[in-house]
């Protein structure tokens, strides 16, 4: 036994000792001498070394230390390992598109690519193995020998078999992110989730996520954690858009073919974002294919879409996407042929990217979208008239009227990415974003009395517009793999003109001008504002704990008043085990612009208005926490709770005005407070042929107007206070040629104000009967539920692919409440042909005078089919 102990003891040179003692032991055993600089850190203890030769022993002795050794004869030279920065872009090998959120790691050191596909990693010099991965792409591993800072771009090959479960590394959204409430909606979901009439939609895809509600069925409006639709900042490549919808909210402005990535932030907002109180929707658009000209054409039931992208020269790419309703093409021939009315919308998105080298890239973005509605009528009348002398003459009367309503966004931006030495990345953006709604009515009467002609023409125009010019710069500094510091500043010049109008009258007689008068012209109430912001955030990883504290400061100046706002932000993540993660977060947000909408329908005549000297900025404080579990391969489970406090929210006063200009809107609204709280559960399957998720949201949202002008100062439910929401999304890939997807959604009804009995009121001008309403939003509308399915039939072609998409929206024809109003059960009496009278009620089931609700369901079962050809 003693021999065995001695043998064991001799196998290890020591049990545990200091590093210097260990070095001394090796010097004695192998007859070498260590040579090193005195500043080299040689403190600490080391475990036993069991190597059989000097090199093996040295490897074990200095493992985990930033010390490099080199054997030179009888000397062992020690040197501190330098850190070098490895940076570059991760792209799609087939298109050259940068990949956002790709994981890049070397050993235990990792990073993710930023919004521009750029990564920065600080690693020890020497030989490293770099591994890069991304969902839907094959992993790539590179062996590199680094002796100085190095730029290494990596191109990944698409592989649809790679699912989320196979991708490791850090992420900027989801469970791996420090921030709660940051969710990425995968491209596959945007393009494959069944939607209304087969039209893939970015914003409606977000409604499948927990905590996100829609307005009415089919609408793309977003109500995020109890907030309103104007409380969401929608960014297109970092540029805010004011109206993200077409056709009263049925479609969003984003053509999916042009979209690269969509990220939704519901809470713990990073400090780089500000300006809205409920959510940030960060949409990143494609840069363009660097490898060749590619694209797609899609013809569906409602729209045509075309997308083309490709290189212009060796360092320049372009991406061009267009979408138009079929009726837009019909208008080209229909209007000249006398089509009396039409509606259509179109979107055009163009982007050009140019690389000046590994350190500089510039991008030019342009978006134009427009909705157009018109009616034209014309009537000819011929009759006989008599003059004062009773002489007869013929009169031709040509009466025309026109109505035009146009609304849309224009966005343009110029961006410059610059890399400073590998660790510092900057993005500078100069942009313009505008929204305009314009209405024109024209009436004209041409009268020809036996050759004597008169013309009367009146024209009324109304417009509302908002425009922002912004200069902004953002920096991302990665001093170490465990820390990323982001900071930046921006300034925006806002211009609001909520109510420009003109009214003119023109009269002619016998070809001569009698009158051409501008009866009223108002350039509109010009409401400018300045907004400046700075921010700083620091994402730090401390082993299993990561923190992201930050501060966003904003200053808004309008109507001679300044509104400063300090907005602290904090996110914390604790990876308790490899499977369990806890997160918590706090954010303060401020909002300086408001959209004054109608109760349930977003109309193009909605106006955007800034804060004023009487209407302060809206603010919110949100606390949230969550627990996450990824212990089952291919699955992730999460549960989050949140509480949101709102201040200076706007609510329309009772009997509000429908069409108020800027000179009236302040009188029609009241400011108050709100609160929203809830819990969200998400079970997600990310691996295998069947993927998808099940989510459940339990929430509540209320408002109160302390001045008593609404609901007598009592709390009342917010109009979109839906108690329960369930979303199920499933995507099944049968093989390379066929894939299915389905969604089932259930949501409790939202709220409406419903009278309960008959009463009367006393105004200044006397008494009148009036239905009695006990409180605002006192009644819960019936729930909404719907099953949508779609299937893709794919076939590879010599160049590209063709896809037939067949889908059914609302498969079991649920009658959802798309519009809700109420009515009083009235009795009608009519006289029959035989002279007798017949009396009936609107609704025979209830007594006369009883108040009842009317549910109007617009969207029943709607099949769709579309054809897409990619090339």
């Amino acid at each position: 036994m003693l021999t065995a102990v001695l043998l064991l003891a001799s196998a290890a040179l020591w049990a545990q000792t200091t590093l210097k003692n260990g070095m001394a032991a090796l010097e004695e055993k192998y007859g070498v001498r260590f040579v090193y600089d005195a500043s080299l850190p040689l403190e600490g203890r080391v475990e036993s070394v069991t190597g059989t030769d000097l090199e093996e022993c040295l490897e074990q002795l200095f493992a985990g230390r930033d010390i490099r050794y080199e054997i030179k004869g009888n000397h062992v030279v020690l040197r501190k390992v330098r850190k070098v920065t490895l940076s570059g872009y991760v792209t799609d090998a087939s298109t050259g598109e940068t990949l956002i959120g790709a994981g890049v790691f070397s050993g235990n050191i990792g990073a993710v690519t930023n919004s521009y596909g750029f990564y920065s990693l600080t690693v020890p010099e020497g030989d490293i193995e770099l591994s890069v991965s991304y969902i839907g792409y094959g992993r790539k591993t590179l062996k590199l020998r680094l002796e100085k800072d190095w730029t290494q771009d990596v191109a990944l090959i698409p592989d649809a078999r790679i699912r989320a479960a196979e991708v490791t590394g850090w992420k900027d959204t989801g469970i791996g992110a420090t921030s709660l409430g940051a969710l990425e909606i995968p491209q596959s979901v945007i393009r494959r989730a069944p939607m209304l009439l087969g039209e893939a939609d970015v914003l409606k895809s977000l409604q499948l996520l927990p905590g996100v509600q829609s307005g009415s069925s089919g609408s793309s409006g977003l109500y995020v954690r109890g907030g309103g639709p104007d409380e969401n900042l929608i960014l297109m490549d970092g540029i805010p858009m004011y109206n993200g919808e077409h056709l009263l909210g049925l479609f969003s402005v984003f053509a999916p073919d042009a979209v690269k990535k969509v990220t939704l932030y519901k809470s713990s907002f990073p400090a780089r974002y500000g300006g809205r109180t409920s959510s940030i929707v960060d949409v990143r658009m494609n840069d363009g294919n660097a490898e060749g000209i590619h694209g797609s054409v899609t013809v569906g039931l409602l729209t045509e879409k075309a997308h083309v992208e490709g290189p212009i020269g060796p360092n320049t790419t372009f991406s061009l996407t267009g979408r138009v309703l079929h009726s837009g093409l019909v208008e080209l021939v229909g209007r000249p042929l006398g089509l009396p009315a039409n509606y259509f919308f179109y979107d055009v998105h163009a982007k050009v990217s140019h690389s000046f080298g590994p350190r500089d890239r510039v991008f030019a973005d342009y978006y134009r979208g427009k909705d157009y509605f018109r009616t034209d009528s014309q009537e000819y009348v011929f009759d006989h008239h008599y003059d004062d002398n009773y002489a007869a003459y013929d009169r031709y009367t040509d009466t025309r009227s026109q109505f035009r309503l146009r609304w849309g966004n224009t966005v343009a931006g110029l961006r410059w990415n610059h890399v400073f030495g590998g660790r510092l990345f900057s993005n500078t953006t100069l942009s313009w974003s505008g929204y305009r709604s314009n209405m024109l009515t024209m009436g004209e009467e041409n009268v020809d009395d036996d050759g004597y002609r008169t013309l009367t023409r009146n024209e009324f125009q109304y417009f509302t517009t908002i425009g922002d010019a912004t200069l902004r710069t953002d920096f991302e500094f990665t001093p170490s793999p465990a820390q990323t510091i982001r900071f930046g500043a921006g300034v925006t010049r806002h211009v609001f003109i909520p109510d420009g109008m003109s009214l003119s009258l023109r009269e002619e007689a016998d070809g001569k001008m009698v009158r051409d008068t501008l009866l009223h012209r108002s350039a509109g109430t010009y409401m400018p504002g300045w907004e400046a912001s700075v921010y700083l955030e620091d994402e730090i990883s401390l082993g299993r704990v990561s923190l992201n504290p930050g501060l966003h400061f904003a200053l808004f100046s309008a109507s001679g008043k300044n509104y400063p706002s300090f907005q602290p932000r904090l996110s914390a993540r604790w990876a308790v085990t490899d499977s369990w993660t806890l997160k918590a977060g706090y954010s303060r947000m401020a909002q300086y612009v408001h959209r004054l909408p109608f109760a349930r329908v977003n109309l193009p005549t909605d106006i955007w208005v800034p804060v004023t000297d009487r209407i302060p900025p809206q603010e919110s404080d949100q606390w949230s926490t969550g627990v996450y579990y990824t212990g089952i391969p291919g699955w992730s489970l999460s549960a989050e709770v949140y509480y949101k406090d709102l201040r200076n929210i706007l609510e329309f006063r009772n009997n509000r005005l429908v069409f108020s200009g800027a000179d009236q809107w302040e009188k029609t609204i009241a400011t108050g407070i709100g609160r929203a709280y809830g819990a969200e559960w998400l079970v997600e399957k990310t691996a295998g042929n069947l993927t998808g998720w099940l989510s459940y949201t339990l929430s509540r949202s209320e408002r109160r107007i302390p001045d008593g002008s609404i609901n007598d100062g009592r709390w009342f439910p917010y109009v979109n206070d839906r108690r329960h929401k369930i979303s199920v999304y499933g995507d099944y890939t049968l093989n390379d040629r066929i894939d299915f997807s389905a969604t089932w959604q259930f949501a409790s009804g939202d709220r409406m104000t419903l009278p309960t009995r008959h009463s009367f009121t006393m105004g200044e001008d006397g008494l009148q009967e009036q239905l009695y309403i006990p409180s605002r939003n006192n009644w819960t509308v019936p729930p909404t539920h719907r099953l949508d399915v779609s299937v893709n039939f794919r076939k590879k072609k010599a160049r590209g692919e063709r896809v037939w998409n067949v889908g059914v929206y609302n498969l079991y024809a649920a009658r959802n409440p798309d519009f809700m109003i109420y009515n009083e059960n009235r009795r009608w009496t009519r006289t029959l042909p035989d002279g007798t009278t017949q009396s009936s009620l609107d609704q025979e089931e209830i007594p006369e005078g009883r108040i009842y609700a009317i549910k109007r369901s617009v969207f029943s079962v709607l099949p769709s089919v579309s054809y897409t050809r990619t090339f």
Partner: protein, 361 residues
């Protein structure tokens, strides 16, 4: 302007409609009360009806009592039918009570009927300081080129200090006409006497329509209400709060046509008589509760149909949630304290009975 709403209305015919019948909420029948009590009146009217889920029903079986500072001042079970603005019969009935109510008094109205009882407790606001009025006559011509001068009144209103206040300025005109009947000429009028002398034949207080477009406080935009543009609130009832002049003073500018003060309707005159007439402009500054003020401002818009399309109206507007201070019932009873300023235009003899020749001093 209304065409835009046809965009929405276009969807509606394409949709299918389902009627939903929510369960009735609240008692089957309860008392509904409405009243506006002025401290300058001694006879007060309480309007009452029975509210049901299906209709408003006549409440002629109530006993209504008025308590002032805890003391019962009047009780009545008599009620009179009322008519609407078009002369139509309406469901509510008028219960009249005589009581002296002063600013600061606590008023309790109790209405008891077969369906139970309803109680309202309300406090009369403090009386505002009497406004100070000055007047000048502004010559104008009407559309036909005839003289149609206006009185421009400048009214100084001092705010009640130490509290938030809400006001309404009511403009009235008062005309008093006395008739001199010569002695010994009884004629055929049975109420004449042999003795002769001055007799009062008219003592009338009437509403006067004023123009507030010159007043930047009451009407900042200087535009009149227009039935074609229901979006515009012209503050036609001249209501205001002290938000912008709390504990201070505000000067109001109101204009009224001179002829409105001198209108005479249905007064029989006799050539053997002579007349004297006195005219005064009355300015009742009412002090209201906050709920009363908000309710009136909201109701100012109630007559407007937004689009004329019922479905679209219902979709696009928010209904009024009225204030309710009736316990055991529904409705709103308020007390307004009134301070009156008088601008006396003096008395004038009209020996020839020509009431159309108003003084143009």
């Amino acid at each position: 302007m209304k065409k835009i709403y046809l965009i929405i209305a276009c969807f509606l015919p394409l949709s299918c409609e389902t009627a939903l019948f929510p369960d009735p909420v609240g008692p089957e029948r309860e008392i509904a009360l409405q009243a506006r009590i002025l401290t300058t009146d001694t006879l007060h009217t309480i309007h009452a009806a029975y509210s049901t889920h299906d209709a408003l029903e006549s409440a002629d079986d109530l006993t209504v009592a008025c308590y002032v500072n805890g003391k019962c001042m009047a009780v009545t079970s008599d009620s009179e039918p009322e008519t609407g603005s078009w002369g139509e019969e309406v469901a509510w009935r008028a219960y009249r009570l005589r009581a002296d109510i002063q600013p600061g008094d606590s008023v309790r109205i109790e209405a008891t009927g077969r369906e139970g009882s309803a109680i309202v407790r309300v406090k009369a606001p403090d009386a505002p300081p009497v406004p100070v009025v000055s007047v000048e006559k502004i010559p104008r011509k009407d559309g036909g080129g005839f003289d149609d001068p206006v009185y421009r009144f400048r009214i100084r209103v001092d705010d009640l200090s130490g509290q938030r206040n809400w006001y309404r300025m009511v403009t009235l005109g008062r005309q008093v006409v006395d008739e001199y009947r010569p002695e010994g000429h009884p004629l055929y009028l049975h109420d004449w006497t042999e003795e002769g002398g001055w007799f009062r034949v008219l003592d009338k207080t009437m509403d006067i329509q004023v123009d507030n477009t010159k007043d930047p406080f009451l009407n900042p935009d200087g535009r009149a209400a227009d039935s074609r543009n229901p979006d515009y609130l012209a503050n036609q009832y001249n209501m205001f709060s002290d938000e912008l002049f709390e504990d201070g003073t505000v000067n109001l500018t109101l204009e009224a046509r001179v002829r409105d003060y001198f209108k005479i309707d249905n007064l029989a005159t006799y050539s053997i008589c002579s007349y004297r007439r006195s005219i005064a402009a009355l300015f009742d500054l009412q002090s209201l509760s906050r709920e009363d003020y908000l309710n009136s401002r909201m109701l100012e818009m109630r007559y407007f149909s937004l689009t004329g399309v019922p479905y679209v109206d219902g979709l696009l507007s928010e209904d009024i949630v009225p204030p309710d201070n009736v316990e055991g019932g529904i409705g709103f009873v308020t007390v307004r304290s009134v301070s009156r300023a008088v601008c006396d235009f003096g008395e004038r003899e009209l020996p020839d009975g020509n009431f159309f020749d108003w003084p143009l001093e």
